[in-house]
């Protein structure tokens, strides 16, 4: 064990506390706002003590938004469903395509392999807005605009390069000899990929999948331009809270809390799995 003095421990604790406060404060504040009405939120000075209300959540779940100007229909739950569907499907498609591709790039050096891998990565360099205009025109011609398939396809721009490059690194870290040993022991190339490479790269694939999921979930512009109301994810749906009679801070906060819950839960769950997987992954003693 490393030996640390008392002062050092106190300073370290203070520094950690500072970082935690810095990053957790907005989330805590939003969480508190989600239980308040617009009036209490906008009070000056802001107060920590308030009477909690579930009105924001009921409004979101029932889809009826009460404003000073009257009742407004919102499709928040539908948006949430869209987010889940789009993100899960996009990541699934990306994993299906990206993991074998990453394996190929890691294990086989073929003519132009580096160029292809780099081209895929370069999709991430292009600003989304630059791609969007031509994409919208094409999608309208092809009949893909405002379809789930079209959106999932565009989401591959976000997920696929990420998964490909992260997973490729994990595959490259597995000594090729382990796979050779399995193959020479009487197994086909595909069995080796399934039984040796995939399990050993498992933690990396999970990490990449998780990251891709978060990126897909947080995406805004693609969905804003390419999807109409019934196919929009929460990120775009949240715009509905900017109403003619003011910004509904309470509902926005509740919507944020609801929309970060799935990613947060997934991250917490996967974190445990990741640590477990990494400690098992020690290959050479």
């Amino acid at each position: 064990m490393e030996h640390t003095s008392l002062l050092e421990r106190i300073l370290r604790g203070a520094a950690l506390a500072l970082v935690v406060i810095f990053f957790m404060f907005p989330i805590a504040w939003i969480f508190m706002m989600s239980f308040q009405t617009n009036e209490t939120i906008l009070r000056i000075p802001p107060q920590l003590v308030f009477e909690p209300t579930l009105a924001n959540y009921t409004a979101l779940i029932t889809g009826k938004l009460m404003t000073a100007a009257g009742t407004l229909d919102i499709a928040f739950m539908r948006n949430l469903g869209n987010s889940v569907f789009l993100s899960v499907t996009s990541v699934a498609v990306s994993l299906l395509l990206g993991v074998p591709a990453a394996y190929a790039f890691a294990r086989h050096k073929f003519r132009g392999s580096e160029d292809i891998a780099f081209t895929l990565l370069s999709f991430k360099f292009a600003p989304a807005l630059l791609v969007l205009l031509p994409l919208t025109l094409y999608f309208q011609k092809l009949g893909l605009a405002n379809t789930y398939i079209g959106l999932i396809w565009v989401y591959q721009l976000i997920c696929l390069p990420l998964i490909l490059w992260i997973v490729r690194g994990y595959f490259e870290d597995i000594p090729a000899d382990i796979e050779y040993a399995y193959r020479i022991g009487g197994h086909s190339w595909f069995a080796t990929f399934r039984k040796i490479a995939l399990p050993l790269a498992g933690p990396g694939i999970a990490a990449a999948g998780l990251l891709a999921f978060i990126f897909a979930w947080n995406n805004f512009v693609f969905a804003l331009v390419l999807a109409s109301a019934d196919k929009q994810p929460v990120t775009v749906g949240a715009l509905a809270f900017i109403t003619s009679s003011g910004i509904q801070y309470g509902q926005i906060s509740a919507a944020i809390v609801l929309s970060i819950t799935p990613t947060l839960a997934l991250a917490l769950y996967a974190q445990r799995y990741l640590v477990e997987g990494l400690s098992l992954g020690a290959v050479k003693g």
Binding site: Y180, L280, G285
Partner: protein
């Protein structure tokens, strides 16, 4: 006659484009008989591991052909070649125990469980890893992993067993014990094994024949004895043997009935013309310059020898290695008794013509060994 266990014919290996990439193995031709143990011996980067991996099927053969038991295999995937291999980096499967690691190839071959268990038990006993069979690779030492990896290869009934540096991580005592056992195991079952090593003791102890490689070229492929006594060229001569062979350039001259091998610093080894056999003498006299090699064991101290000066004297517990400044270079001699010689002490050395290896000065090819032509 049954076909050879392994035939390598005219194999080239290029990393990168053919004829332009790195030429790792150059026009290699070898024939290995069934039941033979062959060692590929050479320093790092000599092409020995590339050769092994081409036989296993992990590297493509750039040119040439490889046949196992008369069956052309160099275009087949590894799974169809029926060879077993122990890897230098062990390459055990992390999620499996040592027992499962050793047994899985047998399970893939659908052997009954009782038979698998019996085989694992006997190999584990042979390699002294019975106590770690239920452990995982990450929790055992490098030496144990290496033995598990060796066990995984030896347990299989394959046409060919390829062992890449199989004992590099073991402690010297264990290595010596296991060498004997593994050799016995291989011979008893009539297996054919190819062993890649840079350790000449291991090659000498295990192999029936040694293939010495350097710079991708097979230098000599012969029994350990013949490699030691009749090295085909200067490389094999100096590479095999511990301590290495002493080598000096010499001008061949004659004076009356003597042959004089003139060395730098005005020294000269003088021999009666009759001391050499006729063919060796003719060869010597037909050349102006040669390279002579003398094994350290063959250098004798004697009163009337050529003068040298001691530069180092090491007692290794069972023999003495004496290094001496001699003819502008260094000469090493080995004596079996403890020798009291101070640094700088003058000694005289003589070399019996029977122990003289003569090499061509330009090509390094052997001309003669003692009384016989190469």
């Amino acid at each position: 006659m049954s076909p050879s266990a392994l035939t390598i014919s005219g194999v080239d290996k290029f990393y990168g484009p053919i004829d332009r990439g790195v030429h790792a193995v150059k026009n290699l031709t070898m024939d290995i008989d069934k039941g033979e143990i062959v060692a590929l011996l050479g320093s790092s980067g000599c092409g020995k591991t590339s050769t092994l991996r081409m036989v296993a099927g992990f590297e493509e053969v750039s040119r040439g052909a490889i046949a196992v038991g008369g069956r052309q295999v160099h275009t087949l995937p590894p799974v169809k070649r029926n060879v077993a291999m122990a890897f230098e980096g062990y390459s055990l499967y992390p999620p499996l125990t040592v027992r499962e690691n050793m047994a899985f190839a047998l399970k893939a071959a659908r052997l009954p469980k009782s038979e698998v268990d019996a085989k694992v038990a006997s190999i584990a006993k042979l390699l002294e890893i019975e106590d770690i069979l239920e452990r995982y690779p990450s929790s055992i030492s490098g030496g144990q992993q290496q033995r598990a990896s060796l066990g995984r290869a030896l347990i299989r009934e394959a046409d060919l067993h390829l062992l890449d540096e199989p004992m590099g991580q073991l402690e010297p005592q264990l290595r010596a014990v296991l060498r004997g056992r593994i050799k016995h195991f291989i011979k008893e079952r009539g297996l054919t094994a190819i062993l890649v090593t840079h350790d000449q003791t291991e090659a000498n102890a295990l192999a029936d024949r040694i293939a010495v490689m350097e710079g991708g070229v097979l230098q000599q492929f012969d029994t350990p004895d013949r490699i030691k006594e009749r090295p085909a060229n200067l490389f094999t001569g100096t590479f095999v043997g511990e301590p290495p062979m002493n080598v000096f350039e010499a001008f061949v001259g004659t004076a009356r009935d003597k042959i004089k091998l003139r060395l730098p610093d005005g020294l000269s080894l003088d021999y009666d013309k009759d001391a050499f056999s006729a063919p060796v003498r003719d060869q010597l006299l037909s050349r102006e310059r040669v390279v002579i090699g003398i094994r350290p064991y063959a250098v004798r101290r004697s009163k009337e020898g050529v003068p040298a000066r001691v530069s180092a004297n090491q007692w290794l517990g069972d023999q003495t290695h004496i290094a001496a400044d001699f003819a502008g270079g260094s000469l090493v001699l080995v004596e079996h008794d403890r020798t009291r010689l101070d640094l700088g002490a003058p000694i005289n050395v003589s070399i019996d013509p029977k122990n003289l290896h003569v090499f061509d000065q330009a090509s390094g090819k052997a001309i003669s060994h003692g009384m016989e032509l190469a």
